[in-house]
Symmetry: C2
Subunit: 302 residues, 2 copies
């Protein structure tokens, strides 16, 4: 019997590693990918879950390879018509993409949980791995800026991350419950590892960690918790991670990522470019930081 794995994911980087994990696992059904839902919002009356969708499209082979988000071969007839009617067009919803928002919203209004809707849609698209929301309860990320608090997508998409991010709030986190599929996956006796994807730590992973019980469950699980650095050579591969670190007075580096996850992770996978100076056995609480070559990522034998 092969081991099972849990990955925590948000954004395009998270989805790309999740796809890689599916590729290296003999049985992708042994992988549970927990999606950040802090980005979720209601837009045009539709429930939009960007990180769930990016994972879904990526694992279903439907993702736009240029952007990493959205769907390949997408069209914008809806958006153009909406603009002509005076509707809001700052958040692009492609014609194909719209289907998942409409169908999800319909099913949620009919009383299904976000977990159940996600599982059903993924099954329809032939995805073998389990994509699960961190919680069925809304935990919207709010960005504190010098101009006041901004709803996440207003900061991220409408303002293109222009305002300085002073901090992030995870609204409703205190009352939220982790999804049962998430907690069950962490409690599986044959858990081989928990992988923290190379996602933005502040806006993709911290929302997951903010859900009550998640940190405790990660600390309690015997399997190693391994993060993959989103910073390579002082740069984020994609997105505003480096900008956000700089705004907090933190020099963007793999070491700073390790510091961020201090007490939570057993290892950090980083690029060879970042490996110098990190083999000095510094201990950070529970963490003993060790550059883990990619060949040591969990790989199953048949």
């Amino acid at each position: 019997m092969s081991a099972s794995y849990v990955a925590l994911s948000g954004g395009v980087g998270g989805a790309k590693l999740a796809l890689g994990l599916c590729d290296v696992l003999d049985d992708p059904a042994r992988l549970t990918i927990v999606a950040n839902t802090g980005d979720d919002f209601e837009h045009l009356g539709l429930k939009v879950c960007p990180d769930l969708d990016t994972l879904t499209y990526t694992l279903a082979g439907l993702a736009n390879p240029e952007t990493g988000w959205g769907r390949a071969g997408e069209s914008g007839a809806f958006m153009e018509a909406l603009g002509a009617l005076g509707g809001e067009t700052w958040f692009f919803l492609g014609d194909k993409d719209l289907a998942i928002h409409v169908e999800r919203t319909r099913r949620l209004r009919a009383g299904e949980s976000l977990s159940a809707v996600t599982a059903a849609l993924c099954a329809r698209l032939g995805i073998q791995a389990h994509i699960v929301p961190m919680s069925d309860d809304p935990v919207p990320t709010v960005v504190e800026t010098p101009e006041g608090p901004l709803a996440f997508q207003h900061y991220f998409v409408r303002e293109r991350c222009r305002p300085k991010a002073l901090g992030f709030r995870h609204e409703g986190a205190d009352k939220a419950r982790a999804s049962s599929a998430f907690l069950d996956a962490l409690a599986t006796p044959d858990l081989g590892a928990v992988i923290i994807c190379p996602s933005n730590p502040y806006i993709s992973i911290d929302p997951i960690l903010a859900v009550p019980g998640v940190r405790a469950a990660l600390t309690a699980c015997e399997a190693p918790v391994i993060a993959v650095s989103p910073i390579i050579g002082g740069q984020a591969v994609k997105g505003p991670t480096a900008k956000m670190m700089a705004e907090r007075g933190i020099a963007p580096s793999a070491a700073a990522i390790a510091e961020h996850y201090d007490g939570l992770i057993d290892g950090l996978v980083l690029d060879e470019a970042d490996s110098h100076g990190h083999d000095d056995d510094r201990a950070h609480g529970r963490s003993r930081l060790s550059p883990v070559p990619c060949s040591r990522l969990p790989r199953e034998s048949a």
Copy 2:
């Protein structure tokens, strides 16, 4: 000061006459077109108002000239993606068309009335005539069939009018109020005429007449009420009017249309093919049926 006009409309035939009325009026803003909303339904979580939309697209020059409904140059990427997700695809919503349903639904949920949303969308599209719903309250048409009652669009689109229509119920009509724009237009002192468009009398016009106060207001208004026959030479120009008449044991004819509106109309506009035998001054209650040549349709002088 030119006279004002009110047209009662449903379906493609109604929208086409409404467009013609706009063309012959010097000031289309003097025309109020009252749309049947008995066809309206909630589908995929969206409020869909087919007759309002057909009028809107027709008067905005956006309608599909082949079908009469929907938009020209429409695409189906959303629908195809929805089908792949297991969603309902029996009611086609084109990518462009979707914009009006999404925007309307959002605004209705935000508390705007259907009248207000319709007026705003029509203004955005540069429509000068006033398209108004018969009521801001839902009055869904239910079709009684040998297989039991069917929601209107289930009968009309999903079942393609296959079941025999035993009768039609206008649910909620007893509690509905006619829209104020409708009542105001009928009460305008300079009202020149009320035109009943060549729409299906059972499923387009009767729902409007079922709204409390409408029949009384039509009977009370001094302006002539003139219907345009949807039946020409025993055939409906479009749609199931003739089939429905036959199912009720009524031979489809312009005379039968006049009979249907007996007591309500002052004149019937019919095709020359149907004019023989109707110039015998038969009186039907209030109605004195007179074939009115098209040249006698209200036409304004500048």
